[in-house]
């Protein structure tokens, strides 16, 4: 039994034990066991992924499961990569959850939460290892369902149940698409094994249909626009460590599935596939960040950023697919690697941010940014981690967000290699949109961090905020370290990613010999950069400048005074710049998209209208695009439903009439059937 098999065993054993423990044990012990076994499983997953990536061996587990199929697991490079992703975030989340769920004692069912957390992790791990459709689909539904149960944890809060319903509805629609897709691919092969699908010969029409279904199914899970409606509803209401898991890992399964199907099972396709993915990605990135800007609910804001980052990932993958269809394997690999790199990066920093938001929620008790502020002094560590995450997601060097976005840019710049200019022109447009997205993301996180953590507390609750317990800090620290490491070592990560694509159709790892130099040189890219040296430079700069100043004898006195404000005395939170105000300029710029509804009510002093008693300003954004897309199907559904209801009108004669009518029709059919 090799090490890999051993790790598989551990992985498949630890999570179920965790579930059992959650159901049996109570209190701190229960939480401890849940976290412990979850952690064990997650680490086993990381180990397994690392081993497989390192040695390139492919462990296969198969046990007889159903006469017509079998329960099969197989770990290739892609699975290994996603195993690592699941494991890293999973480990952080389980540790964090130990402290976070303590607040739930006695209020909500911890048994369910703990059990479902382990079920979710298990299903995620199994899913990326699945080697046939049945295994994949079962773990897929297990994943959706456990997440659904956890979203419902705080079911007594307003909006939770509705959000959960939206989530399960959309995700099930996606599941249906996937079921059809896999059955199309298996082309009558009853074992529905992936191997069979690879070898199946399908008509172009079928392939296109399968791809479309895959994009729909995996898109709903990944939350690409316009299938993302459930995401900003469901992620915020879930317990924060679950949100981190959902936003960090669960939606990534959409990415995994898309990669698995398009480049592995279907081995690439016509250019419009890649073009579609690219376009969808661009739209999602932009819409996501734009709606995030207008959001004042910290967790909803993060959720919208998930949409944005999934968009960026899809941009990379879409570019890769296009290159692949034009027979440019090197660039194709580059694009896909860029997408995967951003996938794991987003998993880390978005997980980190959600955990941070969880600590804030834990301390302040609200998700509304307008009631926060000044937290950097009350919870410094959380603030630091959150700042790190913000820099990473804003793609600031030398953190990981920048590394992967740089790679995506490079992939898009390669677009000039596409022989048809009219097709290639989409690339620069994507470049521009991507740049705009990252700029807006930076703006959005200046808002998010600044309003939440800086300046004066805006509410008494924010004043009494306290630092999060150690376990939660540990969880955040793990991901923070991951962010920094992934940011500083692209020259080590990217080759691994390239290797993980080995053996998949249409991409050429052979062409991906990465020079393991400090500066990242990727064949096909038109530039180099070296995050570690950059970081070194920046650190040196920040460290040296004060030193130099001191040597030059600059003044070192420092006086603490009141904030200057045009001579007014004293400062109250009401004088601070609010999140709404911060976002106002951009709201005006994009008014066409937002279509905001404003109402401004001023009541004047009874004596003179030059004295204002109170001004009330309210402005709301309604995503009209979603209305456009979702209202008419729902209305159609209800119309059909109420029409069908009328059939059951209550009249016995009517019923007998149906019966006779059916009888006569069928008789006619039978009499003249040939």
């Amino acid at each position: 039994m090799t090490l890999a098999d051993f790790l598989v065993m551990i992985l498949l054993a630890a999570y179920p034990i965790g579930v059992a423990a959650a159901l049996v044990a109570r209190g701190a012990l229960g939480r401890g066991l849940v976290a412990g076994f979850g952690l064990a499983g997650a680490l086993a997953g990381v180990g397994l992924g690392a081993v497989c990536l390192g040695t390139g061996i492919v462990p296969t587990v198969a046990t007889s499961f159903l006469p017509l199929t079998e329960f099969a697991l197989r770990v290739d490079g892609l699975s290994a990569f996603f195993l690592v992703l699941v494991g890293v975030v999973g480990a952080a989340v389980t540790v964090y959850g130990f402290g976070y769920s303590a607040a739930y004692e006695g209020r909500y069912s911890l048994r369910l939460l703990g059990a479902m957390l382990n079920v979710l992790l298990l299903s995620l791990s199994v899913q990326v290892m699945a080697d046939n459709a049945l295994t994949f689909l079962m773990s897929w539904e297990a994943m959706s369902l456990s997440a659904y149960a956890m979203v419902l944890t705080e079911h007594d809060r307003p909006g939770t149940v509705r959000a959960a319903h939206w989530y399960i509805a959309v995700t099930h629609a996606g599941f249906v698409a996937l079921l059809a897709m896999f059955l199309l691919l298996s082309a009558g092969d009853l074992s529905t094994s992936f191997a069979g699908m690879r070898s199946a010969s399908l008509t172009p029409g079928t392939r296109d249909a399968a791809f479309t279904l895959a994009l729909l199914g995996f898109g709903t899970k990944a939350g690409i626009a316009p299938l993302h409606v459930w995401l900003p509803m469901a992620h915020p209401v879930a317990p924060s460590h679950v949100s981190a898991l959902m936003s960090g890992v669960v939606i990534k399964m959409g990415v995994y599935g898309l990669l698995r199907v398009t480049i592995d099972l279907l081995v690439g396709g016509p250019p419009w596939w890649g073009g579609l993915v690219l376009g969808v990605g661009t739209v999602s990135a932009l819409l996501g960040v734009l709606y995030a800007l207008m959001e004042h609910d910290l967790k909803r804001l993060l959720a919208y950023h998930s949409v944005e980052n999934i968009g960026i990932i899809f941009i990379g993958i879409g570019a890769g697919l296009m290159f692949q269809s034009f027979g440019l394997p090197t660039l194709a690999t580059l694009g896909i690697v860029a997408g995967m790199y951003h996938t794991i990066n987003h998993a880390c920093f978005k997980g980190l941010l959600f955990l941070g938001a969880g600590s804030v929620l834990h301390a302040v008790g609200t998700r509304n940014m307008e009631e926060m502020g000044g937290l950097i002094k009350r919870m410094p560590r959380t603030a630091f981690f959150f700042l790190l995450g913000s820099c990473a997601i804003s793609a600031l060097p030398p953190l990981n967000g920048f590394a992967s976005e740089w790679l995506v840019f490079q992939a898009l710049l390669g677009g000039s290699a596409i022989p048809q200019p009219e097709v290639a022109v989409v690339m620069p447009i994507a470049v521009a949109m991507l740049a705009l997205t990252s700029g807006l993301a930076a703006a959005c996180f200046v808002k998010a961090f600044g309003i939440t953590f800086l300046a004066i507390p805006r509410s008494p609750r924010a004043e009494q905020a306290h630092e999060a317990p150690r376990s939660m800090q540990a969880g955040m620290a793990t991901l923070a370290v991951a962010c920094v490491a992934l940011g500083l070592a692209p020259f080590a990560v990217v080759p691994l990613l390239g290797a993980s694509l080995a053996g998949l159709g249409g991409v050429a790892p052979a062409a991906m010999e990465f020079t393991l130099a400090l500066s990242l040189q990727v064949p096909g890219t038109s530039g180099q950069m070296s995050p570690p040296l950059l970081a070194l430079g920046l650190v040196l700069g920040v460290a040296l400048v004060p030193f130099v100043l001191r040597m030059l004898g600059a003044d070192r006195r420092l006086r603490v005074g009141d904030t200057w404000g045009c001579g007014r005395i004293g400062q109250t939170p009401r004088m601070e710049y609010t999140a709404t105000a911060f976002a106002e300029p951009l709201r005006r710029v994009f008014a066409e998209l937002y279509r905001p509804t404003r109402d401004l009510s001023i009541d004047f002093h009874p004596d003179s209208k030059y004295f204002v008693q109170s001004i009330e300003y309210r402005s709301e954004i309604h995503p009209w695009i979603e209305r456009l897309l979702y209202d008419w199907p729902l209305q159609g559904l209800h119309g059909a439903a109420s029409w069908v209801r009328r059939l059951q009108g209550g009249s016995l004669h009517l019923y007998l009439f149906y019966l006779t009518l059916a009888f006569l029709i069928l008789l006619t059919a039978a009499r003249w059937w040939r």
């Binding site: 059951q648 209550g650 004669h653 006779t660 009499r671």
Partner: protein
Amino acid sequence: MDGVFSQLSVLGSSLVLLFGLILLWRRGITAYIGAFAWQSIVLAGVTVVVAYFGNDYELYWVAAGLLLLKGLVIPRLLRRMARRFTAERELEPYVNTATSLVVSGLLVLFGYAITRPLVALSQLPTRAGMPLAMGLVLVSLFVVISRKKALTQVVGFLMLENGLALLAVLGTYGIPLIVELGVFLDVLMGFLVMQIFIYQIHETFESIDVEQLNRLRH
């Protein structure tokens, strides 16, 4: 010989159908019951004819059963119920008499169209009556649909069974006796249960008008 046989059987079955149609233009429950009773008696007669010419002694038993059960017992029970609900007359059905007759005529034609292959297939002298039996089945379905009172619906249902019995007799000289007995048992049980329900309806709704049974919907 066979000529007479087939003449008689066709005559009988057309009488059976005729009673069905009579029921359509008569009003009032007692009239219905009368029509049904006579129909059953004629049916029994047809069975006897088939039994005599097809010299099949089992069929005499069947005929006796028909006469006893559908010709005497059930009509009596029906009449008792009818007396109980004297106030309830089948005044206007959903479909007025003229239309009813037209529709049932069409139904009979349809029955002919349907049973063509059967007639073509069978060698029995009685085969010519089968379309009429099929017609009766369809007509009685129409009765069940178009009449409002619970009691009339029961009558329609019993006519339906008569039609099927006629079909069986003409087409196959009757299904095996043992099965036939079981069928009789079921008919009786079913009828009794329906009777119970009709009483219950009358208690709970103070009427046996089926139109009132429209609480349960959607």
